[in-house]
Each structure stands twice: as structure tokens, then as C-alpha cells.
Point group: C2
Chain length 182, copies 2
């Protein structure tokens, strides 16, 4: 299964594509779509949409996994983030690829085994699971890879979670494929 993870943001949208074969993960793309601070807001949206559309066409994923944030942001930040998320989801929908969403807590629980894990722990686990020589940069790319790995773990409930204690996914962790509906 090929999963394309997205960590959306107006200034920097991270992406990471992972091929999961059984218990193995392989990274086939990662990076971030960045805009200069001087770019107009609409130009930033254009760049995110066009960039993701090209990457999705190239990677041909089976699904797109995207981070979902509902809390810890005020209405203004949420509105701004919504624009980036909207054009990112549009790029996936235009390509006919199903979209799945996970909260940061779900990603941490699925990747590290603990929903309140530190960002550095998640990044270290991404490096380990993908067999990379270093943590992928920028951190938005690592976050996007974590969302992709999260979906791989949660869509295979019998697979052990790569957690410190080698814990298995609890039954409550299992989440069915759900079409994006914030």
C-alpha cells in the first residue's frame, strides 16, 4: 500500500510518501512545499495545490493521509490553516484518491505508542521505521511521514506498534477508513 502523508500549512506544507509492504515501510518521497513570506496568500494556495497535485500524480498513492487539528488553535489560525488543508484535500480529491484524517494524538499513539509523545520521539521513530540515516528535514516532512505511517499501522490492526515496549495496537486504536469530514 502506498500512502501519501500531508502536514498542511500555509507557509510550509510537509509531505511524505511511504510504501508499506507487510511490516516494512519504505520512503519514496518527502519534503516540503515552501512559500516566501512575501508571497501573496493566494499565490501560496496556488503553490500548495499545484505542488501536491504533481506529487500525487507522480507517487500514485492508494490513499492520502492528512493531519487534522481541531484544538490548540484560535479561530484566526484555524481559518488560515483551513485554506491550506482545503486546497491539499482538493488536490487529492481531484486525483480520485481516498482521504483519511488523523489527529496529532492518533499519529503519536500509532507511531510511538503514546499519545502524548514528544515531537522528537515521533521523528526518531520515523527515522527508525523507515531505516533512514537521519531524521527527515524539514520537520514538516517528518510529520507528514508520521501521518502516513500512522495510517499504515491503523489499517493493519494486527501489526505491532513500534513503541518502546513493543505494545500492540489496542482494539480501541483501530479506526476504519473514514472519508474526510471535519
Amino acid at each position: 500500500m502506498t500512502i501519501f502523508g500531508i502536514d498542511p500549512g500555509t507557509d510550509r506544507t510537509g509531505y511524505g510518501c511511504v510504501v508499506s509492504e507487510g511490516s516494512r515501510h519504505r520512503m519514496i518521497a518527502s519534503g516540503a512545499i515552501c512559500s516566501s513570506a512575501a508571497a501573496s496568500f493566494s499565490d501560496k494556495l496556488l503553490k500548495i495545490h499545484a505542488g501536491l497535485a504533481a506529487l500525487i500524480a507522480e507517487c500514485r498513492p492508494d490513499c492520502v493521509a492528512i493531519e487534522n487539528l481541531f484544538h490548540a488553535v484560535n479561530a484566526r489560525s484555524a481559518l488560515k490553516l483551513g485554506h491550506a488543508r482545503g486546497v491539499a484535500m482538493l488536490a487529492a480529491a481531484e486525483a480520485g484518491v481516498p482521504i483519511v484524517e488523523y489527529t496529532p494524538t492518533e499519529v503519536k499513539r500509532a507511531v510511538v505508542g503514546y499519545g502524548r509523545a514528544e515531537k522528537a520521539q515521533v521523528q526518531a521513530m520515523v527515522k527508525l521505521l523507515l531505516g533512514l540515516p537521519a531524521v527527515p528535514t524539514p520537520h514538516d516532512a517528518a510529520d507528514a511521514l508520521a501521518v502516513a505511517i500512522c495510517h499504515s499501522h491503523l489499517s493493519h490492526p494486527s501489526r505491532p506498534v513500534a513503541s518502546r515496549g513493543g505494545r500492540r495496537t489496542a482494539a480501541t486504536d483501530w479506526r476504519k477508513f473514514k472519508l474526510a469530514r471535519p
Copy 2:
């Protein structure tokens, strides 16, 4: 000047296109892009984007005026609204049309002459200014037309505002063309 107004929303996105010639306004299109409650969120975004792209290509506006909301919504609603606004702005940006933004208060002040006017007053003024036999429906379409008229008024500072007292736009009401940057 042809102005395409948008009142974005995930379930219903209002639009209205106005041609302003001197002190006269003429409506050339209005309506709403509606999605059924059962549609997936990504399908709603697809429909908004494709619908607006087709309308903008048909109307060939000189600019797109869009309502801007920063307050009176919680983070969750703002995030959801942001998705609709994002794909709406993308449709305009892809067509190479400049985007201008106005808050509801600015729209009311420019159309009715009073920033705290009731929704019904704004709709009645839209009907009057466009010489329509009735208030355009649904209300999202009337709101989109109001945003378009607002831009027409504010980009002609010497023109009298169609307010109850025939007041003129104050110097402080004048707002230069501003590229969208929430």
C-alpha cells in the same frame, strides 16, 4: 468593472456577479453552489472549486470579492469555513483574477451605510441597487452580491453610498485593492 462576489460556505457557497458602470450596477449572475448533507467533505470542496472555476471563466470578472470572517466563530467552524474559502480563492487565483476581501462590517457599511445593519436591510439594498423585482435567493447569493457591490463602492471613493441618508463614503472607508492575505 465586472466584480464576482463570493460568500463561501462548505454546504452552500453563494456567488453573484455585478457589472458596475458609473453609478449603475447590473447583475449578470447569482446563485449558490449547494451540496447535499450526505456528500463527503472532499466532494463538497470539489464541487465548490469546479463550480466557481466554471462561473469565473464564464463571467470573466476584473476581480473577485470575497467575504472575510475572523470573529464570531469558534476554531472548529473557522477551520471548516477555511477549506471552502481556500478552494474558492484557488479558483480565482488559477484564473489569474485579483482577489479582494471585506469583513461583514465593511460590506454593511459600504452597501447600507451602517456597519451594524440587519441582514434584511442589506438584502433590501441589494435588490434596490440592482433594480431587481425581489431579493435574490438563496440569501447566500444576496450576500455574495452585497460583497461585489461593496467593492464597487469602495473602489470609487467619490461615489455616494446608497445609504438611507445618501451619505458619502468617508475618507476612512476607502480601501485600496488589497491582495488576499488573512
